[in-house]
Amino acid sequence: MDGVRDSAENLVGVSDTDPGSRLSALGSRRSIAPCHDRTDALYNHSVMQYSTLSSPQLDAIFAALADPTRRAILSRLASGDASVNELAEPFDMSQPAISKHLKVLEGAGLVSRGQDAQRRPRRLEAKPLAVANEWLERYRKYWEANYERLDALLEELKAAHTPKRRRTRGKSRP
């Protein structure tokens, strides 16, 4: 349980400085809504995971990840930078189609363009993914914490539901 409590406290601790700095790493054109205390408090409560979704960046990231081709592109970029041509190769897709996907990934801050003016290699930006993963982990932790409390409650209910006769018989047997 300590782990759960710790993580819950960590979530609270995150609110002061982290979200802004982390989200700024997304490098999106869109600005981020200011983090009010109340928002942060919600951020840390259950459901409250939803509040983080008001961030357009996170929306954009998850929307970008919702497409299998875009995930495949990210996987490919995870093993190294690649040009649009190189990216188009393994897919049965036209270059414009791939470019369209890249545009979405760039909009979400997941992919950037390298310096080489001719090749214009695309590069994976890992930080936004880390932000998205953090969101996912919070959601998971929220439900894990809930269900651990439910485990404890169920143990209690089971004990209460066990017929007394059977329990006393077992206990009092010499």
Partner: protein
């Protein structure tokens, strides 16, 4: 809590682009799990009991067409509420209800179904959240809140190890 006995991991998956599914095994018969989900005096002991937050209202009218109302009070007296209507109530194996938050975290409604399967005294709980978000389907980036989130879930988890 006995970790060796009840150790169970929570599994999150995305059956479709509008759904999130969570499964978890509990070391208890499903009647108890069902009760813990639907009786206010039990539900308030485990759901959303985060540091700094307390239950303010928990009303459950457990019948088809009946409603529920949850309200939590947090730091600085801030309140967080949700409500919904039961669409299906089948003790002890299934509950389906609409749910929406007082604060509009996302557009439209969410339908939550909880299914309980018992096997050898253990219960597998499956919670399915289905968002009414057509914009996800249309692939519009500017769509609010839940956009693509569901679809990103497991896929994201699967992708991340490859990034290390």
């Amino acid at each position: 809590m006995n970790p060796t006995k009840t150790a169970s991991t929570l599994d999150i998956s995305t059956p479709s682009d509008r759904e999130i599914q969570i499964t978890r095994v509990f070391d208890a018969p499903r009647t108890l799990v069902f009760d813990a989900y639907t009786k206010p005096e039990l539900l308030t002991r485990w759901m959303g009991v985060m540091p700094g937050w307390t239950w303010a209202v928990c009303e459950i009218d457990l019948r088809v067409g009946g409603t529920f109302r949850y309200l939590w009070r947090g730091p600085d007296g801030f309140e967080m509420g949700m409500r919904g209507t039961y669409l299906e109530v089948k003790r002890p194996h299934r509950i389906v209800a609409t749910e929406s938050f007082d604060q509009k975290w996302y557009e439209g409604e969410c339908v939550e179904s909880v299914t309980l399967k018992e096997n050898g005294g253990r219960t597998t709980l499956t919670m399915l959240l289905r968002y009414d978000n057509k914009e996800v389907r249309d692939g519009v980036l500017q769509s609010p809140a839940t956009t693509g989130m569901e679809a990103g879930f497991t896929n994201l988890a699967a992708l991340l190890p490859t990034l290390k």
